[in-house]
Structure formats: C-alpha cells, structure tokens
Symmetry: C3
C-alpha cells in the first residue's frame, strides 16, 4: 500500500492503493510505522506523495461501512495515530499533493511541515460534513494554525471542495507546482531544510510547531466522541447514500 523511494537522506513514501489511495486501518497502520521508522533509520526528511492526479480520497468509506464497532474504533485510533506521528515527527515531513486531495486526503498534509500541490483541475478540501461526518476537533485546531479561524470555520462547516489555486490563496497549501514537478519540488524543499545548521533548525522547528504537538496532549475523550459520531443515523445514512451514488456513477 506504500512504495518507498530513498533520495539520499530523504525518504519518499508513495501511496499505492489504487485507484484513489483510500485509507484503511492497514494502510494507516503501515503509514504510521513508515513515518516513525524513517527517522529511526536515520533519514532526515520525509515526503508523502500520491500518484499523478490523485493524492488521496481519505477514508475508504465503502469498506468502512462493512465494519463493526470495534473495527471502526480501531480505525479512528489508527487515523489519530497517523496525525500524531506526522505532527510530532522529529524530522520534517512534506506533503507532495499530486492531485485530488479530499477529506482525510487533505487532512494528512495539514499535520505536515509543508505542502506543495499540483496545479490543475483538482479538488482539495475537508468535505467531511458533506458526507455526514462532523469534522474532528483536532483537525479544526490544526487547520486554524494554517489558515486562521475565519477560513477554517468557512471550509470546515461548508465542507467545500476548492481548487489548488484557492487552497494556495488561503494557505491550506503552501505552494503550487506543475503536476510532474510536485515531488521534485518537495524533495528540493527538504534539501533546503537539510542544508541548514541542524541543531538550530531542529530547535526552531520544535518551538514553531509546539502548538501543533500540544494538540495531542489528551485526546482520549475526543477520540471516543469522534468514533461515536460515525454511528449516528445521519452519518450512516449519508455515507450509504454517498457510496450508492458513487457506485451508480461507476456502473453507468
């Protein structure tokens, strides 16, 4: 589900769960372990990438709808585990957003150090509300430090999908690049970081991200509430309707 490419001291973790790199418990678990392993193995930066045209569509809703309560609880725990691994990584993590990045697909980059997105006719956004899922508080808090409370309220509550250009304008992504240049640009950004005096960089990075790390101090209650929200009648019926619509679209 994850391809690994090493570029000297930079490890690229490329999503490999076609067609839309949707997140499952196994995928999340592999991703968290790969992020943690990279710094243990001596790599000095990480790039998360997708494939041309697609970064990730977020949680694999059709699959999730077949899971029971313990499995859903485990899935959310793993998802929060990935958020924490990205936010608290001791080495910089860059998201190379190679295409569409919706729901969890744009949430992962929010916890990274930097985000470069492909220009073009791609959709980006936290559309959780659109599919009947309240956006979890830790995501809202992390978005606020990137784009401020006003734009966060707008995008989170509406669940709007926006273009890469608008995402760059509001600060949800940091830079745009030609689609075939996105991964190169991410690597280049990492190389810039690695060229800096290492201690000074690491300490300044730690202080600059301390508020993000602090979000993970005590999330047990939140995780319980977020997991419970999955099972509300509204969430279940909306998610099922979304999946049916997608399947009709495919079969037609």
């Amino acid at each position: 589900m994850l391809l690994t490419f090493d570029h000297g001291p930079i490890r690229e973790l490329r999503f490999n769960r076609p067609p839309v790199h949707a997140l499952t418990r196994e995928f999340l678990s592999a991703l968290r372990e790969a992020v943690e392993a990279a710094s243990s193995a001596g790599f000095r930066a990480i790039v998360l990438s997708g494939t041309p045209g697609r970064f990730s569509a977020g949680l694999d809703v059709p699959l999730l709808l077949t899971l029971d309560r313990p499995a859903i609880a485990e899935l959310w725990r793993e998802l929060y585990g990935v958020f924490r691994a990205l936010a608290c990584s001791s080495i910089p993590v860059v998201a190379a957003i190679t295409g569409h990045a919706t729901a969890g697909g744009i949430v992962l980059p929010i916890f990274c150090d930097w985000r470069v997105a492909a220009q073009g006719d791609f959709k980006i956004g936290v559309n959780e509300v659109q599919v009947g899922i309240p956006l979890p508080p830790v995501i809202i808090a992390a978005m606020r430090r990137l784009i401020g409370p006003r734009e966060t309220e707008r995008l989170a509550v509406s669940g709007a999908l926006i273009s890469p250009e608008e995402a760059a304008r509001v600060g949800l992504v940091d830079e745009l690049a030609q689609p075939d240049q996105v991964i190169d640009r991410a690597l280049q950004w990492c190389q810039g970081r690695l060229a800096l005096p290492a201690n000074a960089m690491a300490l300044t990075r730690q202080v600059s991200r301390a508020d993000l790390v602090a979000l993970f101090d005590s999330l047990d209650d939140e995780l319980t509430r977020v997991t419970a929200a999955w099972w509300t009648p509204e969430s279940q019926s909306t998610l099922r309707a979304v999946v049916e619509r997608l399947q009709k679209k495919k079969s037609s």
Copy 2:
C-alpha cells in the same frame, strides 16, 4: 424597529430605525429577543439586514448623551446581550451589510457566522476610538479571530473607516455583492448551509466557533469597566463634539 421577513426556513430581521438604524436599548432588546425567538420558532438560519445604503451607524449617540448612569449601564448590558445572542446562536446568522456599517454597525456582524457587504462608496469600520470610546475587549477578541491580531490592532486603535473592498481584503467581511444582491446572497449562503447534513454541520460549526462562545464565559468585570469608560471626561466631551458637528452638518 425591526421588520421580519420569512423566506422558508430562513428568518430575515431587517433594521427599521431610519435614517441610520442607530441602536438604542429598546432596539437592542428587540434584536436580542428576535434572534433568540427565531431558533425557538423552528427557523434554521437568520439574516440581519439593513436598508439600501445603510446597515447601521451603531449606538444612537445623540440619544445616549441624554441618559443617566443606570440607563447607560442597562444599554451596555443589552449590547453585550446581543453580542452573546449572535455568537452563541444555535443556528447560523448572516449579516447582509447593505451599506454603511460603522462602530456598533460593523461590530454586530463580527459575531455572526458570515458577512456579505454591498460594493460601493460605503464606510465600514470600528471607529469607536475616533469618537472617544475605547473599543471593548470582547470586540477586539472577536475581531482577532476574523482578521488576526495585527490588522485588529491597526483598525481598532486607529478607528479607521475603510471601504468594502478593503474590508473584504483584510477579512472583516467575507464577500462583496452588488448592493441590490446583498440580501439574496445572504439567503443563498444560508440555503447552502441548510442543504448540508444537519448534525454534522451543527457539530462542526459548534467546534469552529467554540473560541468565540468562550469569550462570553465571564464578562461581568469587563462590562463594568466598559460602562464606566462612557462617563470619562474625554469620552463625554468627544461624543458631545461629534454630535454637535453632526447637527451643524444637518442644519446647514
């Protein structure tokens, strides 16, 4: 002082205290009650609107200068009551800023969910300092979540009046519209919200606005200080000079 128009599930509260929809204790009291009543009556969103060219000029200073201490204390209590009703409303509230919106006239929208303003030669701004009134802390705090501490410091301390275009650029309003389209655009925004899965929207909205709601946790001391500030020699003399200037302008 308030006209009510119902557009299906959306209740519009249109200011009706010509010529400038200046705020009195009675007006504020009616407004607070109308905001609270709308959700009780089953409406699902509220639009606050003014008349063509004028949203509101804020507090009715000429009238206020005739009031005694208990009446002024009551007025500020009611004003804070409206702030709280808007910030804590269980249903979205949109400000349809149909024209000039100065002092309290732009402060009310700051506590709403969204703000659309008429393009044109209109003035927008928290000009309280210009008329000798320190801008209350709760307003400064609410502005900071919309436009950040730097722009808030600039606009709050200078009391500058700015154009709708500049207000949109800094984020004091969210969108501009042709003057005759402002109320329609506000209704349209509400319809967008109402089309969303209701629980997911409401919960995400609650988390996104929790910092705004928290401002109202303990404001008793602040209200005492803000009320006292009205009676300082500087405030009194500046307010009287402003009113005299306005009256000369009218009679000339």
Copy 3:
C-alpha cells in the same frame, strides 16, 4: 550609537553605529534607556530609524565571538530588555526600516506598533538559523501575532531573507515607502495616532497588545536556554564560519 531628533511630540531614535548598525551590549543598553526615557520626558511617540539603505544587521557577531560567558549572558539579557521595552512601551513605537533589516535588525520592529519599510533591493528576515542560532521562542511568539503560525514556521525555520515586497505581503512589515520617504511616513503615522482621543486610543492600544505584553511575564528560563544555545559547538562553528566569510569578502 544613537542620534536623537525631536519632531514636536515625536522622538526619533536613529541608529548610528556604521556601517551596519550592529547591536552590542552598549548599543542595546542605550536603546532601551532611550525608549524608556522618551515617555518619561513627555514624548508621545517614538520612531526607530536607520540610515539610507540600512536599518540594522542585528547582533554584532564578530564582536560577540570575542566575549566570554558572563558578557554573552549580559548581552542576551540586554537584548530581551529591549524587546520588553518596545513591547511594553506606554507610547507607540514605529520602526522606520530604511533598508536591510536582518536577524535582530528585523526582530526589533516585530515588537513595535507599526513597521514601514523602504522599497528596493533590500533584504529582510530572521536568518538566525542560517547563522547557527535557534530563533528564541519569544521572537517566534511575537512573529505569530503579526503573520500567523504558518508563515512564522516557514520564515523562522528556513531563516529565509525576503524582499520588502514579500515582507509586506505576508505582514512582517505593514507598509512600503520610497526610501527617502520612510521616516516621514513613520512620523505621519505617529501624528495620526496622536490626533486621536488620547485615553480611548491608549486603552484600545493596551488591550490590542496585551498578548504581546503577556509574553514577558516569565522569561527567566527561556533566557537561560537562549544564552546556553550560543555556546553549542554548532552555533560557535557556524558563527565563526560566517564571520570568516564576511571578512574574506571585505578583504577581497
């Protein structure tokens, strides 16, 4: 090291330590005293200025490398003392950034009320990391209130030097002016503030800057850590390499 020009109620403190107005303990001490003395002497606003093309290059690294531990500790104490004097000044302080403003040279303006910078081919930025010094937490916190956490993380960690135009775009400076107009514009801004009702302005300014002032509540531990960071092998070797490079450039 500091020239004083009085423009009615506004005192201009012009840096005078050619060629780059680099900061020493004596310079910082003089600056702190001058800022504190200005309000005691009845001035109502302060302008900090440099000379054409140069605001300040920050700490005088070549000189600092000759100092022992007590002298370095004293220097950092004085630097923090200047930050505090600017942040907590009872009268507005404007930075007239007349040219290059790097490291400590742009940090001083961050604690001021307002910043106007010369247009042109000048460099602005907190490049501390580039020269091996972790950017102190109080500076990161003060930057966040000007430009938000995302841009702060980018500029602080990378140590990037940017143009005045980019500095204005992100909000690190508030306005640009022709080089020969920078000091005039700063004075004009002060006059605008002084024309306002004084109490209303002062109280609103106090509330708007309370978060900045609060940063100075307990900084003893931070000061100890920041001073210790100066003596790490990485900082020492990077600083020495930077100074050697500068000296070669001069002698060639």
